[in-house]
């Protein structure tokens, strides 16, 4: 039974670790389907995690913190959109700047607000055991004994998939990332669709970041996102620009995050840093395996102008 408990704990952690990745990657999937790549996800997640933590700490309400994370990251997303969509600046450079800003802003506000605070812990989101479902062996504890943000992530992906594939809005998003001019001549606003997708993506990254500080941990730590924003970028590709694909890929990478945590505690003779590298190595391997696949939206990264 020991093995079963170990596997159960590992899978439970997998789902938990996949949650911030799922939010961020599903949001970015929308942005990229609309033709805008935002490599600043790492920065947005950091902004989300500090905003959520600060608001939760001072208001005492974690949901309020999560809302604040979404709004704050959304505002940063709006700025990113203004620079890349309206001013047509290079998306990669702007995204790189956003990462630096996110790191700086989150650390700055954390130090400014919490320098004198000694007890920095908050009461994080608690697991909600779903009746009946949570008593199924193995699957119950893994899927149905989690906090509500985990449930939200698991529902977000299929919902986002439905909207993308089965609604007029989704059709417009899919079109605008492939052939923006055709979308414009069909009477739609290319800029409007892209702004919407980018801001939505930023808000989801904010929530993903919030999960780390107010649901997974109980406080903010500088640079606590630790590369998950970049992993989410890889997940979008790995999931072939589909929300459900992003969910599966997030679970896979979540597994590696969970596995390295578990291996670290096993007192093996190998230095723990080697295990920490695991998810990132998995990312690189995944990218190599997927090379040359062309599900990528045609107009990804290309600013839209009416002329030409």
């Amino acid at each position: 039974m020991d093995i079963l408990i170990t596997v159960q704990a590992l899978l439970q952690a997998t789902v938990r670790m996949a949650t911030p990745l799922t939010f961020t990657a599903v949001g970015e999937t929308y942005g990229e389907r609309a033709g805008v790549v935002n490599i600043g996800l790492e920065g947005l997640m950091l902004i989300g995690s500090i905003a959520a933590y600060a608001v939760a700490y001072f208001s005492g309400s974690v949901p309020l913190g999560i809302l604040a994370a979404a709004i704050t990251a959304g505002v940063f997303g709006l700025c990113f959109g203004f620079i890349t969509i309206t001013l047509r600046a290079n998306q990669i450079i702007t995204g790189a700047a956003l990462n630096l800003i996110g790191l700086g802003v989150s650390s700055y506000f954390y130090r400014a607000m919490f320098a004198t605070v000694t007890d920095r812990a908050i009461q994080p989101l608690q697991p909600i055991q779903l009746p009946v479902l949570s008593s199924i062996p193995l699957i119950g504890p893994v899927l149905f004994d989690q906090n509500w943000l985990v449930y939200a992530a698991l529902l977000l992906a299929p919902l986002a998939g439905f909207v993308l594939n089965k609604t007029a809005l989704g059709l417009s998003l899919r079109a605008v990332g492939e052939h923006p001019k055709a979308t414009a001549t069909a009477g739609l606003s290319v800029l409007g669709l892209r702004y919407g997708a980018v801001v939505f993506g930023a808000m989801m990254a904010g929530i993903g970041g919030a999960f780390l500080s107010v649901a997974y941990a109980n406080q903010f730590v500088e640079n606590m996102v630790a590369g998950r924003g970049f992993v989410a970028l890889a997940i979008v590709v790995f999931g072939r620009w589909r929300p459900m694909g992003a969910l599966w890929a997030s679970l896979l990478f979540g597994f590696f995050f969970a596995l390295q945590l578990r291996l670290q505690t096993q007192n093996l003779a190998i230095p723990y840093q080697f295990f920490q590298v695991l998810p990132y190595v998995a990312t690189i391997v995944a990218m190599i395996l997927l090379r040359g696949q062309s599900a990528q939206p045609k107009a990804l990264g290309v600013p839209y102008t009416e002329r030409a």
């Binding site: 055709a182 414009a184 069909a186």
Partner: protein, 520 residues
């Protein structure tokens, strides 16, 4: 004149881009149920004017009336609301979506609680049904469930038309619709357009082909340099008058050509096979020969292997099988540079991306293929004075209109850019000249010039492979013509026996043998 209210009236439209006055006080009426042709050379301002009418560009000045009411059209969305539809020269279809998805794109509210059913696309079957009905009504065949990427250009054009009809347009603008069609498809398209006008639709047809104006137009408006230079009823005019109006001087519509004196084979291609992605054969076992002093014309609809043929011969892509010999010497496996030095010149189909370095000066573009050889480079150093003198000589010889040899090639017009490419390529007296779409996008004057130069090369003994999707050009210049269809040669005719209809059928994939059977 006529008392009916025009469906669309453009009055004194002006539009400029930088220093260029693309539209200069253009006025135009289109009546219900008529085909108005908009005739002019490239750069005359036809597309700009129609983009104004479709809301893609805002005019600097001028008024637009729809059914007698003054309107402003600030976006395609508003144009559609006024019943104006447009089929662009480069289709505005998303290749990764289905026909039905492309057609309904932008026709439904994105979020609406009141019309939630409208925003949901869960019942694609019903939508596809409705689209099929609209298409049927006008006798157009489309499969609403098909993916755009899998359709031929002719089919894609039908989708574009159905897309406009589905939106209930009353005026349809078609921008150079026949450029991508075979002659037979063109005839079908014109028949379809006639059923539209019979149903009361108005049509504006943008073209630079005179025979099309005569075939389908009710009236014609001729543009030159952004101005209206004439407006005629088709019954009151003839091709020659229209050509003169369009170009602004008397033109010779036919090329004066002496019979060829073909010599020994210079270019021999045997069993050439090029495979693309997904194992698709782009060229399948292709065999052809071009002799010294003759022009072999390659006819065919765009995308049937022309590109690959030119690139394989010039070494840009490596064939999967087959041999290519220039005067007996195999060139397969050699670099483009080695092949060029063997005496194979190349006028690439896209002069801007393959023929020139646009940011480089005219002078530097002239020596792109020989920059590292004497006399342009000595002792590892470029020789600016020699390069400049060389450029001045070629500028004069090929009548390149440029402010200076130092001006970037990007500043020149398309015709003058092409003269740089032509000059560079034939300056070395090539033994084989591969000319791909040598006059694409050029006006009548520049076209005439290029044609004469190609014939002069032929008479000087070069073997010329002329690849063109303009059938007129192939017919005017070639001594022999082969037709390319899906990477194969489906037929060969001699230049003088050639006739449009026969080649047209072959371009659509019909084999010569079957033609004979059908013909009997």
């Amino acid at each position: 004149m006529n008392t009916t209210t025009p469906r669309l009236r453009l009055q004194e439209i002006c539009k400029h881009f930088g220093a260029l006055q693309a539209n200069d006080h253009i006025s135009l009426d289109v009546l219900p149920g008529e085909v108005m042709c908009l005739l002019g050379e490239n750069g005359a301002g036809k597309s700009t004017l129609m983009n104004v009418a479709y809301g893609l560009y805002r005019p600097d000045a001028g008024e637009i009336y729809v059914d007698g009411v003054r309107v402003t059209i600030a976006s395609p969305h508003e144009a559609i609301a006024h019943g104006i539809g447009m089929v662009h020269q480069h289709f505005m279809l998303v290749p990764t979506l289905t026909v039905a998805e492309n057609i309904i794109l932008g026709t439904r509210p994105l979020f609406s609680l009141r019309h939630a059913g409208q925003s949901m696309l869960t019942k694609m079957g019903a939508i596809e049904q409705r689209i099929a009905e609209v298409a049927q009504q006008y006798g157009l065949k489309v499969n609403p469930a098909a993916l755009i990427a899998n359709l031929s250009v002719g089919e894609q054009q039908r989708v574009e038309i159905v897309k406009a009809l589905y939106r209930g347009v009353k005026l349809l603008i078609l921008d150079e619709p026949t450029a991508v069609l075979t002659p037979q498809e063109t005839i079908e398209l014109f028949a379809t357009l006639r059923t539209f006008t019979a149903a009361g639709l108005s049509i504006i047809l943008i073209t630079h082909k005179l025979n099309e104006v005569m075939a389908i137009g009710d009236r014609v408006t001729v543009l030159r340099d952004g101005k209206v230079v004439g407006q005629r009823n088709i019954g009151d005019t003839h091709m020659h008058e229209l050509a003169e109006l369009m170009v602004g001087r008397d033109v010779v519509l036919n090329v004066d050509k002496q019979p060829a004196k073909p010599g020994a084979p210079a270019l021999v291609v045997e069993g050439l096979t090029v495979t693309g992605t997904h194992k698709r054969a782009l060229l399948a076992n292709l065999t052809l020969t071009v002799a010294r002093g003759e022009i072999l014309g390659i006819a065919g609809v765009d995308g049937n292997g022309q590109r690959e043929l030119a690139l394989a011969i010039t070494g840009v892509i490596k064939p999967d099988a087959g041999t290519i010999r220039v005067e007996g010497k195999s060139i397969v496996g050699q670099s483009p540079r080695q092949i060029a030095h063997t005496g194979v010149a190349h006028i690439p189909e896209d002069r801007q991306s393959m023929g020139l370095v646009l940011d480089f000066s005219v002078a530097d573009n002239f020596i792109l293929k020989r920059f590292d050889q004497a006399p342009y480079t000595r002792n590892w150093l470029l020789q600016p004075r020699t390069i400049l003198a060389h450029a001045q000589q070629l500028i004069q010889l090929f009548d390149v209109r440029t402010s200076s040899p130092q001006a970037p090639a990007a500043n020149l017009s398309g015709g003058n850019q092409q003269k740089i490419v032509l000059g560079r390529e034939i300056d070395g007296q090539p033994r084989v000249l591969v000319a791909a779409q040598p006059t694409r996008g050029l006006d009548v004057g520049a076209t005439e010039y290029i044609h004469k130069a190609l014939l002069a090369q032929r008479d000087a003994g070069a073997a010329i492979l002329l690849i063109s999707t303009e059938l007129e050009e192939i017919l005017a210049l070639s001594d022999r013509i082969v037709v390319l269809y899906e990477g194969r040669i489906v037929g060969e005719v001699t230049g003088d026996r050639a006739n449009t209809q026969r080649i047209g059928l072959m371009m659509a994939g019909a084999h010569t043998d079957t033609l004979l059977i059908r013909g009997s």
